[in-house]
Subunit: 418 residues, 2 copies
């Protein structure tokens, strides 16, 4: 037993060092079909864990239908539904294609993807570019002619300009941006205003110098300036690229993915390979953006953006962003208590993510399923609230369910101690 | 006596409302000679309070000599000194010309000035544009051929481009930027990284659209991106424009200016007109940027940038920017205690400046000389440390001396109760 414990600790130390040592860099933008492994013209990705078309939540169903129409895979929503039911149009979790998607995470062949490379370990992860602000977006499982027109503009005009600017500027160091943004009011999940501003500062010079139509460049800059949380998707891909490097380490009990599909909450564990361990997703505690909305309208917890908490951002470092505590009528004291709770379930702390309101204490990093089960504390996630029928309606926080951690630990015991 | 107290309270309420109601907007950039009231070709401004050439500190003397050379008023430092001694080259405090200058505050006829208008009250204030980062700059009382070349580039290339962008973008709302920046790790004196990033975000679109030489625009953007605290000077002019509107209110005991000249610390009081009340400037407590420097190298407290504290920013809201507490080996708890102290000497609190680490409590605003004298608490300033011979050597904090407040209160009593 002592030997098993020693092996686990060594494996966890190794995974932790890999997480800490990651150097994610944003290197470019390209259509999903060109860069995402296993992407296909009739494949639509959604936020994980895996779920059949028939069982999906409203935001996923609507978002996938919207993407099918946008890609020209169907002419009407009815045709799309029929083709989805028959399998002529396929669906799969983003995570199965080295991709992470916020909200419903809708990603299809033409979707312009941020490409993030983890320089230290050569892993490469993807996330769609942000559709900008607004309550009704494909990523919230809402579509309309305007939503699809915006996607087309992004794919045809904006993405090539952003990619050209990135090629001219060279890779953007996302680790450095994250380290600075957490000192500037971002926890890098529900809030990434500073990260986005720091990112924009780095590419404006290249944008200005582009030999591309001035009107398109101006429109692209306008879009970037108005998209206050643009870089969240880049941070998500950065987190995925860091975690991919820590996957598949034998004996390792650290979590390598947390994701929700509006029905289930799922985790992956390094020593347990590609298997998802799931439990019903919890409802989100939070603030609704309009008085007309209430808990009854809300879909259960949704999206891959919890990849940020999986690398110790978001709900794990709430004191960095007191603004997000306002969604839950919280306080700085409560946020600090939450971070201390998260430290209880983590392998170590990360000197590259420091918390100003805690006198620059390093943030917790590396969720250990053993500690979750032992303490009864589950990861705390900052998150959006999505309407059951699609659309963003609020923001708040949610705890992961215990069930998936307990199941994973049981499976771990069966594999390694059984 | 009750009647006097009532009059004072009414006057202070009015001044406070004027401070709160200010809407400073950055409207343009122009050479000092074109826009600064009373500017003249042979006049060199410096940070206040007023001081004779013979009595000035090293940073002021060096900076003024540098400006004389840059303007072509003298061919050698010796010639400049002779003309300054004879009065052929004149000096005056920035404050006497609706201007505020950081550090030595060196401002001459060709200096490109930020123009800030207080939309609510029609006041207009100025501050030179930032020379960028670096330890040896004219504003730190250091000059060299490189420093003067940079000034020439700023005046001939950068300032016209920035002005053209501002004219195209329209006025920039500095009040809004300040409100957001204090939620993003800035206290808007020793740290203005977020404010600068938010400002840049607003003018990039206009910069890109300029019909000006592309290389010059690129160089200007590069300069802006590398000048992390560029907007400090804009915030200073904003503060001055807000305070100018509250000057000269009979019976008012609120402070309308705090400034230091490396020898004396001076204040002005609304009800006491243009008179400076001074006391010897205190040494700055802080961190030296190189091991070779110590207290023995430091000039006493210097610069007009304490105009930020005069409107409740900087040292008054240290918990907004835990990074600046690192200069004094401080803590968030100490920063919060400091803000509570500042609230003791202020007339009220400002809902437009909220402190995240204090659960968004509004910051203190409006220094009342009566409360300073009664409590024995003097304003706390975040500040730079300047070398006795010029050059930036550190950063930290300093308390205003009590003497100038006691003298002002005495003068107030003589004027209104005597």
């Amino acid at each position: 037993m002592s030997s098993l414990k020693t092996r686990i600790e060594a494996a966890n130390d190794r995974a932790f060092d890999i997480l800490r040592g990651g150097k994610p860099r944003l290197v470019g933008v390209a259509p999903a079909l060109e860069v995402v492994p296993g992407m296909a013209p009739n494949l639509i990705l959604h936020s994980a864990p895996a779920i059949d078309w028939a069982d999906m939540s409203g935001p996923h169903r609507n978002g996938i239908i919207g993407a099918a129409l946008w890609e020209g895979l169907a002419a009407t929503p009815e045709e799309a539904e029929a083709k989805l039911a028959s399998g002529e149009i396929r669906t799969a979790p983003c995570h199965h294609h080295d991709t992470v998607g916020a909200g419903a995470g809708i990603t299809s062949a033409s979707t312009p993807m941020l490409i993030v490379e983890n320089e230290s370990y050569g892993t490469r992860a993807f996330s769609c570019i942000s559709e900008g602000g607004g309550l009704r977006l494909l990523k919230w499982g809402a579509w309309s002619p305007e939503v699809l027109e915006n996607l087309t503009w992004q794919a045809k005009v904006f993405a090539p300009i952003l990619d050209a600017a990135l090629q001219a500027s060279g890779p953007i160091d996302l680790k450095l941006i994250i380290s600075r943004a957490v000192e500037m009011g971002d926890e890098c999940h529900n809030r990434s205003v500073a990260a986005t501003a720091l990112f924009l500062r780095q590419i404006y010079g290249a944008l200005v110098a582009l030999d591309m139509p001035k009107e398109d460049v101006r429109a692209s800059i306008k879009f970037l300036v108005e998209s206050e949380h643009f870089l969240l998707h880049g941070i998500m891909a950065a987190a995925k690229s860091m975690l991919m490097a820590a996957e598949g380490i034998e004996y390792c009990t650290l979590v390598t993915a947390m994701a929700r599909n509006g029905v289930n909450f799922g985790i992956k564990v390094s020593g347990l390979g590609d298997r998802w361990f799931t439990a019903p997703a919890n409802p989100v505690r939070g603030l609704f953006f309009r008085a007309e909305w209430s808990d009854a309208d809300a879909a259960p917890d949704l999206g891959d953006s919890s990849i940020t908490e999986t690398v110790g951002l978001g709900g794990f470092i709430q004191p960095c962003a007191p603004t997000v505590t306002q969604y839950v009528q919280g306080s700085v004291a409560q946020a600090i208590a939450n971070t201390r709770d998260m430290a209880e379930i983590c392998h170590g702390s990360n000197p590259d993510v420091r918390i100003p309101a805690m006198d620059f204490a390093p943030g917790p990093l590396g969720i250990d399923i053993r500690k979750v089960v032992k303490t009864g504390i589950t990861p705390l996630l900052d998150t959006a609230i999505t309407h059951r029928d699609g659309g963003l309606i609020g923001a708040g926080e949610v705890n992961a369910p215990m069930g998936c951690f307990a199941d994973a630990l049981k499976a771990f015991g069966e594999k390694y101690a059984g």
